[in-house]
Amino acid sequence: MRKELRLIVNGQPYELYVKPKSLLVEVLRNELGLTGTKRGCESSSCGICTVILNGMAVKSCSILALQADGAEITTVEGLAKGGKLHPLQKAFLDYGAYQCGFCTPGMLASAKAFLDENPRPTEIEIREAINGNICRCTGYNSIVRAIKAVADGEYKEEK
């Protein structure tokens, strides 16, 4: 028994029929083919599946897709606009804020939702914002530097 679900993902409206128990992450990855968003655990504790839902960083494995009905969602695929990278993506590249890259989509989502709300954060606020996202490669400090660089205006959004 499938239920109707309407979502706007990365600016694109979708009408879907999904199983009631499908998780948001499953719908994004399996139904919409947006495999940029990963999964790393079964216990909502690694942050890898983070997406932006109505402006908030949300672990997409911890909510049912139907709970997101009507929501606007941004995934890593939606960060770049018109062929131009988002400032955070540019900063991540320059500061080496990723290695294996598996946590990067979730990390970028957490960072973007956070900066949208708090564009001039302190370092400790940045660390708090990504504390729910595990990265096993970088040791986080390069990620903090990249986010700080964007907050400090080192990167401008290209139109």
Binding site: R29, L34, T35, G36, T37, K38, R39, G40, C41, E42, S43, S45, C46, I48, T75, V76, E77, L79, A80, L85, Q89, F92, L93, D94, Y95, G96, Y98, Q99, C100, G101, F102, C103, T104, P105, L108, I124, I126, R127, E128, I130, N131, G132, N133, I134, C135, R136, C137, T138, G139, Y140, N141, S142, I143, V144
Partner: protein
């Protein structure tokens, strides 16, 4: 040193960067093939049991289930990475007669979706005869302990001895002798992408496997062996890999079961291990019991060291045999011990097998060793940094019978750390700075896989538009080897990084190569790549020479797309022009350069070693025993830096992993069961826990390395736990000899210290 490079020694955006920050990188985890099935693995709930019967009939009848396999469907071969020693190949992967740890695979199911496969596991009935089990290696070594493998008396899996000088005699000449015992804990690799594989066995009898791995060559050879296939009929492709850290260069249950199911069904099968499986049924860091005795002369000369180690092997050999050897070797570094003896025992236990984890036995060795050096310095009333500096390895030193060390920047590292400590000045109460130092291999010379020596190979192909295809067997698991090797290639060939396309993913295309482990990539693969690029360049220069007709003995070289006369750089021709003309003149044949590297006559361990000294500053809360990391400063010698931003990432990443092992990561086991198999329960460092990190690169040139480069990344996990233990001691006067340094242990030690004081 005055070295002018155009590509290396700077920061470059990684070649895989754009795909990774946009979500376009497609991992094995993301792969879907037409008509693909999903597999799940049934695992033993018992630490030690005989399999009496497996009834798969109910599972097979379930709608949506396509196949169930058990050990009976295998060739009954045993797998292991030490292939030159058949008795050490001891893992069937799908157990036929006995299970040896909780998580040992007994059956696998392929179904039309994961949910059905999972449900089918519950329908498989396995009849076990439960056997007595043993979990601690010291217990497992005793006479009469339950026997885990028939071939291993007293469960001893491997023994190693390393010895030089006369340790027993030398201790008699020492003015100070101390001895003590240590224990190091287990640690999970916690790759963010769990082990996973998609296998497709075609009707042509050929198998293709896409998998998350550190060595596609190892997986190719091991799978071929286990399935009775010709190696060339197994193609292993490595998409971007979500972390390795030592956990992904052995054949794993996802790869083997997916391949076996696909062989049976001739349909693609995908298996992704759950996070819980990743914790309980993939390899983990080797816990070790360490006994150390050290002796020195009054003047601070270290004279003798004796080390005895028993490691918790878990159920199978894995790469744990290598860790046993390396921990013994690293226990002698980075000091000039004239007398040294190591005895190591790896013991089978009914726990998840233990193996390599970023550091490969080194972090354990340096935790015990560096703690002891501080304890010795205290007994001798010497400054611990001075004691280290006085005895440290210097350039061109031979570790007797083991290794020849050419470059060594330890002296500069001590100077940098001493300066840092002085600048910090007097610390507030309950704060302390501890130091630890290390040396670490740049790839192992030893090879137990299929040849006595390790090998690396590379191929460079220049296309008619000047674009360069680089083929290598090094596997980028996040550490950045694709970029490092592309930079080495571009530097040697005189082109730009953007000209290089790296092909490191496919055993059908790339050369046989042992892959990425033991810090092989920069030096070993780098040398092979540099040689291949030089070979291709030489061919281009032949054409250029014919065209430029130098009338004096001018050497030609290439830089920045210009082929020029070395002493008359203003005389040059375009690289692109020569490439086009050369390929046309050769009637379309591409220009191919070949390169390889094998370290002959460079000792037993490694052709070159990275070194470093680390200062860890902690603050201990005496009320709770909680240790807070304040700052970690690392001065290290990795030879010539290739990609600066990558080296910084290695310093910080290694520090995080090692600090996690030092004070929070652990895998407590009760009756063979790992008690914290979830990310919620397994504590790792998160961004708020991560202290300020400073990396200081000291400038050295390694003659054996490509452009003077050597390892930078794995070795950096070595000094942290020991330095933390030393820092805690300096902060509050208690010495923790058992990792991790948890608040409970610190608090207990503080209370004991108080009691002792009261008695006095």
């Amino acid at each position: 040193m005055n070295r002018k490079y155009s590509v290396i020694g700077k920061s470059h955006i990684r070649v895989d960067g754009y795909a990774k920050v946009t979500g376009q990188a497609k991992y094995t985890f993301d792969m879907v093939l037409p008509n693909m099935l999903y597999g799940k693995i049934l695992r033993s709930p018992h630490p030690h049991a005989r399999i009496l019967n497996i009834d798969t009939s109910r599972a097979e009848r379930k709608i949506g289930v396509k196949a169930v396999v058990t050990g009976k469907d295998t060739l009954g071969r045993k797998n292991g990475a030490w292939r030159r020693f058949p008795e050490l190949c001891d893992e069937e992967i799908l157990c036929r007669e006995k299970v040896r740890y909780i998580g040992d695979p007994v059956a696998a199911v392929a179904a039309i979706d994961e949910e059905i496969a999972e449900e089918a596991l519950d329908l498989i009935e396995v009849e076990y005869e439960i056997l007595p089990a043993v979990f601690d290696p010291l217990e497992a070594m005793k006479e009469g302990a339950p026997k885990i493998h028939d071939h291993a008396e007293r469960n001893i899996n491997v023994t190693r001895r390393i010895e030089w000088g006369d340790v027993s005699e030398a201790f008699k000449d020492c003015d100070y002798v101390i001895e003590d015992q240590f224990h190091t804990s287990s640690q999970a690799h916690l790759c963010m992408e769990t082990h996973c594989a998609v296998a497709h066995f075609g009707y042509d009898g050929k198998l293709t496997v896409w998998t998350s791995t550190q060595s596609n060559y190892y997986i190719q050879v091991l799978l071929a062996d286990m399935l009775g296939l010709r190696e060339g009929d197994v193609r292993v492709i490595k998409p971007p890999t979500g972390g390795g850290f030592g956990s992904k260069f052995e054949l794993d249950s996802a790869q083997f079961c997916a391949a076996l199911l696909s062989q049976k069904l001739r349909q693609p099968v995908k298996i992704v291990l759950t996070r819980e499986e990743e914790f309980i049924a993939t390899k983990r860091k080797t816990p070790m019991y360490y006994y150390v005795k050290v002796g020195a002369k009054k003047d601070g000369t270290l004279l003798a060291k004796e080390v005895r180690v028993v490691t918790e092997g878990g159920a199978y050999t894995a790469m744990g045999a290598t860790a046993l050897y390396l921990t013994g070797f690293y226990s002698s570094l980075p000091y000039r011990w004239p007398n040294y003896r190591y005895d190591g025992y790896r013991v089978y236990t009914n726990t998840a097998p233990t193996s390599a984890l970023r550091g490969f036995g080194a972090p354990q060795a340096y935790f015990a060793g560096e703690s002891m050096i501080d304890m010795l310095a205290e007994a001798m009333k010497m400054d611990p940094l001075d004691l280290r500096r006085k005895n440290a390895i210097t350039p061109n030193y031979e570790v007797p019978g083991q290794a020849y060390i050419q470059s060594c920047g330890l002296k500069e590292c001590y100077d940098a750390i001493e300066k840092h400590i002085k600048e910090r000045g007097k610390l507030p109460p309950n704060r302390g700075i501890g130091i630890g130092n290390y040396g670490f291999m740049s790839g192992g010379i030893f090879n137990w896989f299929n040849t006595p020596y390790a090998f690396s190979a590379a191929m460079v192909k220049i296309n008619i538009d000047g674009k360069v295809d680089l083929f290598t067997g090094a596997c980028d698991t996040g550490q950045g080897s694709d970029t490092t090797l592309a930079m080495i290639c571009a530097e040697e060939l005189g082109v730009h990084l953007e000209d290089i396309r790296v092909h490191a993913e496919d055993t059908d295309l790339g050369p046989a190569d042992l892959g990425s482990w033991g810090s092989r990539e920069t030096l070993m693969n780098g040398n092979a790549v540099k040689m291949a690029a030089a070979d291709a360049k030489r061919q281009l220069l032949e054409f250029a020479c014919a065209k430029m007709k130098p009338n004096v003995v001018y050497d030609l070289d290439i830089k920045d797309h210009k082929i020029y006369m070395v002493d008359r750089p203003e005389r040059y021709v375009s690289y692109f022009e020569i490439v086009q003309e050369a390929i046309r003149a050769k009637e379309g044949q591409t220009i191919i350069g070949r390169g390889h590297y094998t370290p002959h006559r460079k000792g037993m361990v490694s052709p070159a070693f990275g070194f470093g000294v680390q200062a860890v500053e902690v603050e201990v809360d005496p009320e709770t025993g909680k240790v807070k990391l304040i700052e970690i400063v690392t001065a290290h010698d990795c030879g010539q830096v290739i990609n600066s931003v990558a080296v910084i990432g290695q310093v910080e990443g290694a520090t995080m992993l090692a600090a996690g092992g030092g004070f929070c990561e652990d895998q407590p086991i009760d009756n063979g069961k790992i008690l914290n198999p979830s990310i919620g329960d397994y504590k790792v460092l998160r961004s708020l826990d991560m202290p300020k990190t400073v990396g200081i690169e000291v400038d050295t040139y390694e003659p054996e390395g490509p452009f003077g480069a050597k390892e930078a990344g794995e070795g950096l996990t070595s000094p942290t736990a020991g330095a933390m233990a030393n820092a805690v001691y300096r902060a509050v006067g208690v010495r923790i000899k058992d990792l991790p340094i948890t608040p409970e242990k610190v608090l207990r030690a503080l209370k004991e210290k108080e009691k002792l004081k009261e008695k006095k």
